[in-house]
């Protein structure tokens, strides 16, 4: 079984939770350091956890998107390796142009945390091996998904909108909470599935997000 890479940037803070979540579903996690490169053939999938890489300086995810490890991630992604970005990881994938759009400051200007209900939109992807409606925690200040108006329809038409909030917590365009790339092997998600792994956490809907990486 090839391991699932878990990337650590300076300021990543959901790394251990993601590492443990990967192990909890029976997969083998492996740390990837932001300054290192790796061989894409050694990994089954890559996850970019949440946090505040580079202290969110300049724009959230902007500096991490230009870190050395991203070169290997780009190579892996181009060759079909599943890449999942959670929260700050989603912001990084957008800033690296691996996913469309950008995540702006919440319309409320507040850091929002709590549990949200999400509805799955996307279908044709390994990442969609998750039930259609889930309950997951969010924790972000910059979660307002934005793309240019004419691009939104295209994303829906192409099945690249992955998840939508049932109640928009941050002003995201069309309540978008997660998107996919055109080949559907790169996914970004604002909520935190690694925080919903066991019933003592308040829910277990997050597990499928990690088991689906094994396919």
């Amino acid at each position: 079984m090839k391991p699932v890479g878990v990337v650590r940037f300076l300021g990543t803070n959901c790394d251990q939770d993601v590492f443990d979540a990967v192990a909890a579903v029976g997969l083998k996690p492996k740390w990837l350091w932001y300054q290192d490169q790796f061989d894409r053939r050694d990994l089954a999938a890559v996850i970019l956890p949440g946090g505040f890489s580079y202290g969110d300086y300049l724009r959230s995810g902007a500096l991490a998107a230009r870190a050395p490890v991203m070169k290997s991630i780009l190579d892996a992604a181009n060759h079909g390796t599943p890449v999942l970005g959670i929260c700050n990881g989603f912001q990084i994938l957008c800033e690296a142009h691996l996913l469309p759009g950008v995540l702006l400051k919440n319309d409320s200007l507040r850091f929002r945390d709590g549990w949200v209900k999400l509805r799955r939109v996307g279908e044709a992807s390994a990442f969609c091996n998750v039930k259609e409606s889930v309950h997951l925690p969010i924790a972000h200040g910059d979660g307002r998904y934005y793309v240019e108006e004419d691009q939104v329809k295209q994303l829906f038409d192409d099945g690249r909108v992955w998840w939508r909030y049932e109640q928009n917590p941050n002003g995201s365009l069309d309540s978008i909470a997660g998107v996919l790339n055109d080949k559907k092997n790169i996914a970004g998600l604002m909520p935190h599935p690694e925080r919903a792994m066991f019933s003592y956490m308040g829910g277990t809907d997050g597990r499928d997000f990690f088991t689906s990486l094994a396919l």
Partner: protein
């Protein structure tokens, strides 16, 4: 040569920070019809020629300083 980079959110993008500042100003009786907030970056480049300095600043902006989806930028050569 120093080049200043003025980065602002695009007009069509909701600028939540600018709006919050605007609301506070309005609340304190300052009449205004808009307030947009961005950032200012000063690049100290090892260049002596203005055109070279501006070309390099442009390159740096395109590389990382602004996000073309949500922001615009302007350059100015500083004394």
């Amino acid at each position: 040569m120093k080049v200043g980079v003025k980065i602002l959110p695009k007009n069509e993008v909701l600028d939540s920070q600018g709006r919050a500042v605007e609301n506070t100003l309005q609340h304190h009786g300052h009449k205004l019809s808009g307030c947009r907030m961005g950032r200012y970056v000063v690049l100290d480049l090892n260049e002596t020629e203005k055109s070279r300095a501006l070309a390099r600043a442009t390159e740096i902006c395109e590389f990382v300083l602004y996000n073309p989806l949500s922001e615009t930028y302007e350059l100015e050569v500083l004394p």
